[in-house]
Symmetry: C2
Subunit: 657 residues, 2 copies
């Protein structure tokens, strides 16, 4: 180690704030901030391009703390760099309710937090999306206004999670050379030595997926700087394996799991400060050290100024700004409306996955910002359209992501793309594999991102592939996630409407649950109003009927069939299509009560489980749907076998009258 | 290629049956069976140890078709080998409702299907558990009765999924040398060439995680045999990279994605048969070819006979048989009962994760078959007990799995352990990370396995770690999975009861949702009856009260507090503890109605979302719980902030009276 006194002072400022904040909160993770302080110091004061005065500057470098438990590393650095909202009071309020300094970094909470991390591997997963977005926008708008790097700090936990392999394999394949991952190689996990549970040669592993690798002493600031600058020159993504000591400086606990996730305690803290030469009081960074940090914080101001001049002169300035803002173009809504008219005229009988592709033909033509894709099911998900060429290593202008058989990374990369800005990610897999992507979908909901998941083969209606591929509980399980819009459109018209809602939803991700099987057009009259926007609406029948039949997606046509059968029995019923329970729940109580009815026989039909319908059905209403896993067989046999039929709906109605 | 005519005949029998079955079903995946027929032929007729006459023989080799879509490879082989229940009629009924030959291999459906596969990567994930179980039982009972291999056939899809990295890293670390993975290296995925989405050097990748690797021509049966036999000799797990042609023999479609997942069509099928020299009619394997296969099927009979003799003479015969049967020992129930008495005497105020560890102290002492573990959160999950030493490369006798930060593989390996038999797997992580493990948990439920997940930190009660770590929708999302028992015990007594139920549940996996925070003992009177077995029961108060308060886990004590407050208002209420909604749903309608009540004010309190309570609450009942993601802060502040308080329960009751 050859650090100068000043280098150590800068790093110790991070260590000091981090130790003190964890101690004050009596909760948190001091080990990583202490171990990675040298890395953060070099990265933030020497290498990264950003400006605290404009934390959303489009061409800033992005830093992602994939090892989110080390949040104090980030908060300390943001404070030291002079981010306005990261005051010393916030640092002192670490992990307190309402503070910006949550246990793990939370997107939206403070400037300079690029993504919410904590669930291991997710930041790394996001980072690939950030790098994709940078590369795509650079290809589109030119390197004079888009030319920045994505820096990730990841720990052993991140690298053990399966998503890490999906992420690095994809990044290596796509040659995302502006992505650098710094591995906090401290040889410690919560349960002790990494060697208790892992024998991976990480360097060899990253080489195997076509990464550049550099090994350094993670406490040697000159070596760190050289490595980071070398990484910037690589034509591949780079792993910097930085050997560090967790809890660096702590006299007894450094290098052990004891310093990972608990306060040091008064004695160890005092010992650490003594060992590190920290003589100033808690939370009081000496003015010359703070001044050096603050000066470093402003060092990219000129670069930003030059960039702004270039942008001002750029031919596509307005479009670039629109894209980064996330506004949809004026042409969007009319294009959707025109196509709705055409659909109502044509009344196609196609699967909603096909309806989705038809909608995408229109959408992708008017929204250059869509970045499509699939986890290797393109011709099943129908997420591709004519103008979309693949995003590949040799063509970063491509609009279509071939994510490979990597559902989890697909969703996590989509989050990164959405977080970066300038693009709207959508991509597909089979509905049942939302389980594989679930941790990333949850984070999209938590972060309020516009990620759009095209989930086809949404029920037993997929037929012969059987129970492993048939979603049964998935609609319910997804509806359970707060702030996630789950759409299950009934026909081509609703599919178009739901696509429009998903694209217009700037603070919640969307799932489009789509059928494999063909469905008739049930919305046969044009309305300017997007009826799906209310989440549930009367599709057929009157308000003053005896029974209400609720249905979604492929079961709406069955509900209409049941309605006809009930008519013959002189039982008046109405069919309510429920494309989105979440949007329905946002309507006025009055509207909801009106739709649900009072004293009516109530039946819901959906080729999934009942749970998410109970709030509508109450204890008396009946459900026609699945009560178990599915089975392998032709679709008609399955619907009959599981009793999801118009006849069953009729019986469920008459049993209540 | 140097195959003899007979070698080709044997492999072509698989190809022929597979092509014909897919064609007849007009659905399915011919590409893999055609491409891997040579591999399967050698594996089944020359290398593997098994006996169709005793398909559950404890010391058989296990074959796992991780690429489950290639199910016809397995069904064809099982028929050819002479498994009694795999008749030619079953082969002809491929993918039909009620047949044993489902779209993907389904455990329980036919002899020789060792696990349900289809969701990619899961079979590979399971296989590590199979190999762990073999190694552990060999260490325990000796190699004279436990000495078999686990063989996996995996495709590019399996190897791209993140779980594959978790699986191979764990297997390499643990030196599971009796595990061999054959990679069907056909360079094709559904969307086209593997090179569209992946540039991984798989050989280097497996070396990086300490595997032995062998590369062969996957159509050269002699090379295949040598590789398989070499793999058996390795002191590490082995990857055999077998270069194959997908759809081998199909004149136009071989080597392309067109042959992956659709029938060949009459013309291509005829062309393939001509090219392969198959002259016999569909489904009619010539007698001499069938005879050769059948003879191969019986070739391990002597080995099994000798094994039975060794078992008969084995000192631990009875124990081994009990273990493989999955019966609990007679000492189990009395030990649980005795500890229940003690708990009711002691009335500990501890977190239910601690109660769980206390229960495990008793359980692990009487059940040598438990194989515990954690995904690197041992001291948080409290899944370890004194007698448990780690299962490591140098000690396969260990009872504690250090799974590393690999929740998905943990759950998938647990499935493998449960499927192998002889051990009962339990293991822990944080409840929120059930999302990471969800695909494997679902398969445990589908396969009816006794896997027990110890999921601690089960609500906002975990405090400062914040929303990324706080389960909110997870109880609901897990309750949504068919055939999964979700337990949320209220105190040490219920925790013990739930552990007993989980261990006695031989056809459904269990989740134990456990608190981080301390909870008082609320079950203060001893009953011989396991009250948790009914899923919900009156904990306090009378049947003829005005209000019913339902609660689980950490909220039961709050419900009791509310009851006291209601008493003061002269409102009679009863508190119903609901340790398991699934078990409650299995009770008589009478019992359920009695517990839920009629015309009562109903309130449920649970630190999660409302959805799974609606069937009990109906449209009028009120819910006290979460309506959004959580937040970072100390526990008391969080409960107050989110309004999960006794006061809120009282208000929810009085609002209904």
């Amino acid at each position: 180690m050859t650090n100068t006194a000043q280098q150590n002072d800068l790093a110790n400022a991070i260590r000091s704030l981090s130790m003190d904040a964890v101690e004050k909160a009596n909760s948190g993770h001091p080990g990583l901030p202490m171990g990675c302080a040298d890395i953060a110091t070099v990265l933030f004061t020497k290498v990264m391009k950003f400006d605290p005065a404009d934390s959303k500057w489009a061409d800033r470098d992005r830093f992602i703390l994939s090892a989110g438990h080390g949040s104090m590393l980030l908060y300390s650095s943001l404070y030291l760099l002079g981010y306005e909202d990261m005051t010393i009071e916030q640092v002192k309020n670490f992990r307190q309710l309402g503070s910006k300094t949550a246990g793990h970094p939370e997107y939206h909470f403070a400037q300079g937090i690029e993504t919410t991390t904590g669930p291991l591997g997710q930041g790394l997963g996001n980072s690939v999306g950030f790098a994709v977005a940078e590369a795509k926008l650079a290809a589109e708008f030119g390197a004079d206004i888009v030319d920045h790097h994505t820096w990730v700090l990841a720990g052993d936990g991140c690298l053990m999670e399966g998503i890490s392999q999906e992420a690095i394999a994809l990044a290596g394949h796509l040659k995302l050379n502006k992505l650098t991952v710094i591995w906090d190689n401290n040889s410690i996990t919560i349960d002790g030595a990494v060697s208790n549970s892992d024998s991976t040669d990480q360097i060899a592993r990253f080489h195997a997926v076509q990464w550049n690798t550099i090994e350094i002493d993670g406490h040697d600031q000159d070596a760190i700087e050289k490595a980071l600058l070398d990484a910037k020159k690589s034509d591949k993504p780079t792993l910097i394996a930085a050997k560090t000591t967790i809890g660096f400086g702590a006299p007894k606990k450094a290098g052990t799991e004891k310093v990972h996730g608990a306060p040091l305690g008064a004695e160890e803290l005092a010992g650490a400060k003594a060992a590190l030469g920290i003589t100033y009081p808690a939370f009081e960074i000496p003015s010359e050290i703070l001044a050096t940090w603050r000066a470093a914080g402003t060092r990219s101001q000129n670069i930003r100024g030059e960039w702004q001049s270039r942008l001002a002169a750029h031919a596509d300035k307005a479009e670039f700004e629109r894209r980064m803002k996330g506004d949809l173009p004026a042409a969007f809504a009319p294009a959707m409306d025109a196509f709705k008219k055409k659909l109502i005229e044509d009344k196609p009988k196609v699967a909603t996955r096909k309806s989705s592709q038809m909608a995408l033909d229109i959408i992708n033509a008017v929204l250059p910002e869509t970045q499509g894709g699939s986890a290797d099911l393109t011709h099943s998900n129908l997420t591709n359209t004519k103008e979309m060429i693949p995003f590949q290593a040799d063509n970063h202008a491509g609009r279509y992501m071939m994510y490979g058989i990597r559902e989890h990374e697909m969703a996590s990369a989509m989050n990164g793309i959405a977080l970066h800005g300038g693009l709207i990610p959508y991509s597909g897999t089979f509905m049942v594999f939302t389980d594989y992507a679930r941790p990333a979908i949850r984070l999209a909901a938590l972060m309020e991102l516009r990620s759009i998941y095209v989930m086809t083969h949404d029920s037993i209606g997929l037929g012969e592939d059987g129970p492993t591929h048939q979603p049964v509980e998935h609609l319910t399980a997804l509806r359970a996630i707060p702030n996630l819009l789950v759409f299950r459109p009934a026909d081509a018209v609703e599919t178009l409407e739901c696509w429009q809602l998903a694209l217009e939803s700037t603070s919640a991700p969307s799932i489009l649950a789509l059928s494999r099987q063909n469905l008739p057009t049930v919305r046969t009259e044009y309305t300017a109003e997007n009826k799906s926007a209310k989440g549930a609406y009367i599709l057929s029948g009157d308000r003053d009927s005896d029974a209400v039949i609720f249905a979604t997606g492929s079961e709406v046509a069955i509900a209409l069939e049941a309605q006809t059968m009930l008519d013959e029995l002189h039982i008046k019923s109405r069919v309510v299509s429920v494309p989105s329970m979440e949007l329905f729940a946002q309507q006025s109580q009055e509207y909801q009560d009106e739709i649900i009815g009072k004293g009516h026989a109530r039946v819901a039909i959906e080729a999934g489980i009942k749970m998410s319908w109970d709030h509508i059905l109450g204890r008396k209403g009946r459900f026609v749907g699945m009560h178990s896993f599915g089975a392998s067989g032709p679709i008609d046999a399955l619907y009959e076998h599981f009793g999801i039929t118009a006849k069953a709906v009729v019986e469920a109605v008459t049993a209540q009258l």
